[in-house]
């Protein structure tokens, strides 16, 4: 089965996010009020061939933990969805 995988990475709580802070500071200048807690992360998408959803999620999580994030500063949410059944 073919799965589409979405990995959303973000900085862990307590890790300074200068990009998010800069965006947040600039918002009032542009007239956007009342926005706070801006944090910038990444979205990484790929397709994965696996026999079932449990295996797909396990493989996607493994590649995320071992490569796609640096666990010292980042965390991630991994989701998988079937795109094509054979």
């Amino acid at each position: 089965m073919l799965f589409s995988v979405l990995v959303e990475t973000r900085l862990r709580p307590g890790i300074a996010d200068p990009q998010g802070a800069t965006i947040e500071r600039s918002l009032p200048t542009l007239g956007f009020e009342g926005i706070r807690g801006v944090r910038v992360g990444k979205a990484i998408r790929f397709e994965l061939e696996a026999p079932d959803e449990t295996t797909a999620l396990a493989q996607a999580t493994a590649v995320t933990q071992q490569f796609l994030i640096n666990p010292v500063i980042e965390a991630a949410d991994v989701s998988v969805a079937v795109t094509e059944s054979v």
């Binding site: 900085l11 890790i15 300074a16 200068p18 990009q19 800069t22 490569f67 796609l68 640096n70 010292v72 500063i73």
Partner: protein, 225 residues
């Protein structure tokens, strides 16, 4: 014995020639080691130079960590061989797990290209053995992601074990505890953001980096601590 220093060359490295030149100028011999090589045989010390290894894609150092040569670098380091990561090389060594912590974007979100002052905090490392504690060195920095960070336990451990090698006198990038460079437990692996290889000759505006690279040459082939 003239120390032979291997300078690891990744696609996207751009400070390898500076390192070769500086080491040669200081009396060592240096040679490039391609990142696809699986051996660092014949080297007495290693430098992981600055630049943008593998384009810095994903994160600085994230892909370089998987280059074939890194297994040899790990073994060399585990056997006590002196290894220094400069700038991007520091990022590579943290990603490879040879040094603790991580380097994130500068607090000011600016690429910094300037000369700063660092203070030598410990002299029992492969990079500072010939320096004096408290020495203040004028050395250039060139980085966007030099903001050193680590969890509170790691920071406490680095302090307790005297493993902060150099600190910024005037913190340019938001690094925790003004950290500009750290070493591993064995004190033979050192990473720092400033570029000592660019401060080894009067013509470059500062010779303050020379004591660091001389220390590396001195530690080549001899136990560090």
């Amino acid at each position: 014995m003239v120390a032979r220093v291997g300078v690891i060359l990744f696609p996207g490295s751009n400070c390898e020639l500076d390192a070769l030149e500086a080491i040669g100028h200081l009396g060592g011999t240096a040679e490039l080691v391609w990142h696809g090589d699986r051996s660092v045989e014949g080297c007495d010390a290693l430098v992981v130079p600055g630049g943008f290894a593998h384009g810095d894609y994903l994160r600085p150092g994230a892909i370089a960590r998987f280059s074939p040569v890194m297994d040899a670098v790990r073994t060399f380091a585990a056997d006590g061989g002196p290894v220094v990561g400069i700038c991007n090389g520091f990022q590579v060594l943290t990603e490879a797990g040879l040094l603790p912590g991580a380097l994130q974007k500068n607090a000011g979100l600016k690429f910094l290209c300037t000369t700063i002052t660092v203070r030598v905090e410990t002299t029992t490392t492969a990079l500072t053995s010939l320096a004096t504690p408290g020495d203040e060195l004028r050395i250039p920095i060139n980085h966007f992601e030099g903001n050193y960070t680590c969890d509170a336990n790691t920071l406490a451990q680095l302090r307790a074990e005297d493993r902060v090698v150099v600190r910024y006198v005037d913190n340019p990038n938001g690094s925790v505890d003004n950290i500009a460079g750290v070493c591993n437990e064995g004190r033979n692996v050192v990473g720092l953001m400033p570029h000592p290889e660019r401060a080894c000759h009067r013509l470059l505006g500062s010779e303050d980096g020379a004591v660091l690279l001389r220390s590396l040459l001195a530690s080549a082939g001899t136990p560090v601590a």
